[in-house]
Symmetry: C2
Subunit: 271 residues, 2 copies
Amino acid sequence: MIANTPNIITTPNIITPNIIEMNRENRVRTVSCHDCTKASVCPAYSAGAGLKAGDSGAPVHRNVRAGQNIYDAGDTFSGLYMVKSGFFKSSFIDYNGILQVTDFFFPGEIFGFDGIDGGHHKAILEALDIGSVCKIPLTLDGRRAGVLWNADTLVVLLQAASESISRDREMMYVLGKLSASRRFASFLLDISRRMAKSGFDPDAFRLCMSRNDIGNNLCLAVETVSRLINQFQSQGIIRVVRRDLRIIDRRKLEAVAEREFETEHLIGKAS
Amino acid sequence: MIANTPNIITTPNIITPNIIEMNRENRVRTVSCHDCTKASVCPAYSAGAGLKAGDSGAPVHRNVRAGQNIYDAGDTFSGLYMVKSGFFKSSFIDYNGILQVTDFFFPGEIFGFDGIDGGHHKAILEALDIGSVCKIPLTLDGRRAGVLWNADTLVVLLQAASESISRDREMMYVLGKLSASRRFASFLLDISRRMAKSGFDPDAFRLCMSRNDIGNNLCLAVETVSRLINQFQSQGIIRVVRRDLRIIDRRKLEAVAEREFETEHLIGKAS
DNA sequence: CGGTAACTTGACGAACATCAATGTGAGTGG
DNA sequence: CCACTCACATTGATGTTCGTCAAGTTACCG
């Protein structure tokens, strides 16, 4: 999918690793890691600081349109990805052929861990909008890391993996133990938090995914999600127009997520 | 909890790293990593091969009794643990004070990742039986790994973390999408597989955890677990006497887990 | 033994899925 | 500019799974 080394254009900037950016299919431009707004959270930055453009371990930038896949299930693992802009969806197809949305990714976040164990990606990674990612090449042949990788970098990766584990644990809890309304409230708060972390307004944002994706991710029927949106809206907690969402009463939303606030069970009841 | 360096007893064996074993409180004995049956799957083995007993990075062996904790929520992260024998339970307490059983660990498996992100353990790790673990000291001050750790070792850890992520994803799927009977069937198959991997009989083993723990882990009521055990038993799939379980018809168990086999919905129905 | 924790069994209802029908808006093409 | 389409979203009616409550039963440990 990503042209790895062949199309690399060497630029005057040879002190810092260069990034190949592909605009609409074949247009590419190189960017310096130093200019990257995500450098502070990027494991490639510390590791690649001494790399030259064209080195096999140099990060590769890629632009995508909505609906495009970064990788598919079964693709050979060849590195991790840092979201530079846009929003991404991670899903996989279970042995019954049913799609399962496992996660969403926001700018500044790292994905691709699903490919380390076993050497092949288990998930499908799809762009939900126009966006860009930076691929951090990483080879794990046997037990030896790619030559460009030092212990410091791997610690950063280990920390990212650990964060991913923590989030998954949280998610297991949400799926297993929480009612539909608490799940949805938790979901909104999580999105809001990550939006803020990515530099967006935590109280007014555009839901980048469909109701279907939300339902799938929370393991709720689409209809339930729809009803919850309405319920929250009529309770003055949020305000939604299509996919644009505004959190009106964050306190109340948190209360719902933590059960302090008993939501009227409008769902599944004959009115 | 674990005395780290003070009680180390240096032995004649100084070529390989030595392990401190503490029997009933204060009795300790040193063991060589070379004699360890889990060396092939242990990240400490490759990393520690050149260490001497007493070195700060040397693995530390510890024996535990049922009910003892390896670490508690909030404990400072100081390393990962490899299960040498026995069975362990990982749980945490959510912000509502409710206990959530997240995982079980079998001989040869590694736990402790919950402490890497943030530097403090989020989980409580309890021994379900008499057993022993080997602590693999690992410090992550800032972004720098403990001096004894090389890139190779960290790759092993990264792979273990990735496996943990894969397992968690699987679990999210189980919790969110599967019916009670499919969950329980999946649970039994998972236990069986891991039992086999640990060198036990995959078809006849002792459930090391209580019904309560199973229910909690699968996010099912204890009563439901009890009913499912009965149901599976009357369908000739398993045979259970207290905690001793035998898989009679593995094919059928797999079919239940994958929905091919429609379990009679004996539950919640007036007979 | 007797007391407690673990487990089983039954009855009932609530929460949510499912089914079905309708609404809505972004494209597309004339 | 208007019809047409198609995916996405809403809304209502009905049914099933599983949690909850309650009352046993059994093992276990002093």
